[in-house]
Subunit: 417 residues, 2 copies
């Protein structure tokens, strides 16, 4: 063998399968990531991604923060930093969580690469192969993907208009113990403006869940990316207020500042925090120093609150636009949720329509996209006539046009004119 000077040669392909770990067989490409590719085609109106409106990004504020950070803090902001995260930002987040009803100090806060990393770290420290997680059906795609990687299994509970049907938790717990010989690793809850369902868990159900979790010694993962994007209705206390000792709370800058910074945070008990920090050290040493400094500067200058107000106003209008368009253009026999905040609503079409097939064969031809409901069912046992629609990415006139196109395709499918 010798140095090979032909760098454009064809490289032989080896068979990687026998080399790979067992868990790698459980991995699959995420439907949501594949579908995000649609959003790239300018012809297609995509309700598929979980994308915030790019025209609302506080670009000038980010620029100003970058300049400040580079000039005043450059040597630190570009260096390695602590796994736990940048202390002033942790302090800001602890204060902000405190106002939100969560007992937090900077020591309870860990910065992550978006909430997705939080989901991964949680899977990493909790899930043995074959271990069950309790969750609603439907539930967030990214959580399914993260935990399937660790060969986790899912036992699901029904959702109704009030969110997860919490009274099913006790029975679900028993069933998991029966089937796997071990309690579930935790229960995963999206209490506010559920992704994909758009529903919100009432205070009564949160209290009921807190009581059951305490009784069963069950850990709660409270994923709350949209909690600060409430358009109307009363603020509801997070589960982490009720049982902070056993709740792992996830927050993110992705929906209130910008997802491209990849910044999220975990709030949990300090004794668990140690484990998460150990896991994170092995994953990436620490979250990007520079983006933490930039986010901190934006937070400290008080820009975030008025920015969130602006987001709420615009997103509320877009939600209303979508609801109106659904009423106007969609055929009889369809239903949808009416979320009080967040990014998504969940629509059901007549049972004769399989939304996965409908997407591929009809909707995409009409140049419109969504995520078929089945992808949000970890055991593929539902959602075949449902879809998730994002209402924050597209401007109102595009929303109307997209919903109109879907309405036409649905009517055709149902044999209506």
């Amino acid at each position: 063998m010798d140095i090979n000077h032909d760098l454009d040669r064809d490289i032989p392909v080896i068979d990687w399968e026998p080399h790979l770990a067992e868990r790698t067989k459980s991995m699959e490409s995420s439907a949501i990531r594949e579908l995000l590719k649609f959003a790239q085609d300018p012809e297609i109106i995509s309700f598929a991604g979980g994308l915030p409106a790019p025209d609302l990004f506080p670009i000038r504020e980010v620029e100003e923060a970058c300049i400040y950070v580079a000039r005043e803090q450059g040597m630190k902001a570009l260096q390695y930093s602590a796994t736990e995260g940048y202390y002033p930002l942790k302090q800001y987040l602890a204060d902000s969580m405190h106002k939100y009803g969560i007992p937090a100090t900077p020591e309870n806060v860990l910065l992550t690469n978006g909430s997705q990393q939080a989901l991964d770290l949680i899977g990493k420290i909790f899930i043995d192969p074959g271990r069950f997680v309790l969750t609603g059906r439907p539930t967030y795609l990214g959580a399914i993907q993260a935990w399937r990687t660790y060969q986790g299994k899912f036992h699901t509970m029904r959702l109704d208009d009030g969110g997860m049907v919490v009274e099913e938790v006790g029975r679900a717990y028993e069933k998991v113990v029966q089937d796997s010989g071990r309690p579930p690793a935790y229960i995963y809850v999206l209490p506010n403006f559920h992704n994909p369902a758009g529903t919100t868990l009432s205070l009564e159900r949160r209290i009921q869940l807190a009581e059951i979790a305490t009784k069963l010694d069950l850990v709660v993962v409270e994923d709350d990316p949209y909690g600060q994007l409430r358009f109307e209705g009363e603020f509801i206390t997070p589960i982490c207020n009720l049982i902070p000792e056993r709740t792992i709370y996830l927050g993110t800058f992705s929906k209130i500042l910008a997802p491209g910074l990849r910044l999220g945070w975990i709030v949990c008990s300090e004794s668990l925090m140690k484990r998460l920090i150990q896991a994170k050290q092995g994953c990436d040493l620490h979250t990007g120093t520079f983006v933490q400094y930039v986010a901190n500067d934006i937070c400290q200058r008080g820009i975030l609150k008025p920015h969130i107000k602006k987001l709420i106003a615009v997103y509320k209008e877009r939600r209303d636009t979508m609801l109106d368009a659904l009423t106007e253009f969609w055929p009889e026999g369809c239903q949808w949720t009416d979320p009080e905040g967040g990014l998504f609503l969940w629509a059901r079409v007549p049972e004769s329509i399989d939304t996965e097939r409908f997407l591929k064969e009809k909707a995409l031809k009409e140049k419109v996209a969504f995520v078929p409901g089945i992808h949000f069912y970890p055991n593929q046992d539902g959602g075949t006539n449902a879809m998730r629609l994002n209402f924050t990415y597209a401007p109102p006139e595009v929303i109307v046009e997209g919903i109109r196109r879907l309405g036409i395709a649905l009517k055709k499918e149902l044999g209506q004119k």
Copy 2:
């Protein structure tokens, strides 16, 4: 249960152990991260961290790139983006790798959160519990930590002045098959200016390794964070030139631009790339969009090459300063490597000195820090009288003072005046 309005109350502590996964027991806090905390105390001269010199960060260039990206590309740079990474940056890296002797196209490149994430992703897709990895002794701490998390085991081979003793690979492979019933997951190699040993693998050994790997169908992980920081001597072709079909090559911006951006990259065959992308989706969806745009702007403007030249000049001087100071201040019976590049040298003191104890009981009292050698031995079977010294972080006068302090402490320990 009801809403709890006392947010500053004491939170009860639950017992997390019965909830955690088996693998979590294998996790431990990284010595290197704990030791980085020393670098925070301004009193202590730390040779412990793997830190680049902050006074050399191209701060103004980063600022300019941030301004450009915010103004011209803000809506895209702050949005979610593809797991694979930002295409123009992948293109730049493929070209740059090509010039470095590696057959790469943008499709062979995956952006990661620093090389540490690359190590984590590799562990995730390859390591079943109990599976062995072949590596040198000593070897990189972060790799040990990342792979121990997946319950990987390590079979190590001796290093001499020419790097890993490659002729031991065949026997090591056989031993692993014998002990575990399965071939090792891969062999991990740090060919250039080894961390911590400072040694470089000769071309002859690279070719020998490529031949053995091909014969045994063994995957090679080639970790090359410092390859572009060569102070002297001839460029040596990477292993990825010889056997690109079975080499996973890791590069990083941490040592040539800034670690605080958290940007690294993997080059490997497209068929394996798919698996890594699936794993990365579950981990964090994608690497930060904004920092990728910023790095790309810096790369495209041709700033990186002259910057690396500057780094080489300064780091070479610091290495020389450290070598001179070691000769001047250290007692008889000590030895050290003379690296042709990179960030570290490896020093051995007389066997009567346990460097771990010496650090805690003596060196820290003299206000100087290093990483004790034993931490780089995954099986704790060596390095007790060795230490890793970083020569890039501190300015020359501080290096002299730190080595002088260590010399005094060593002489005291040896009962010399």
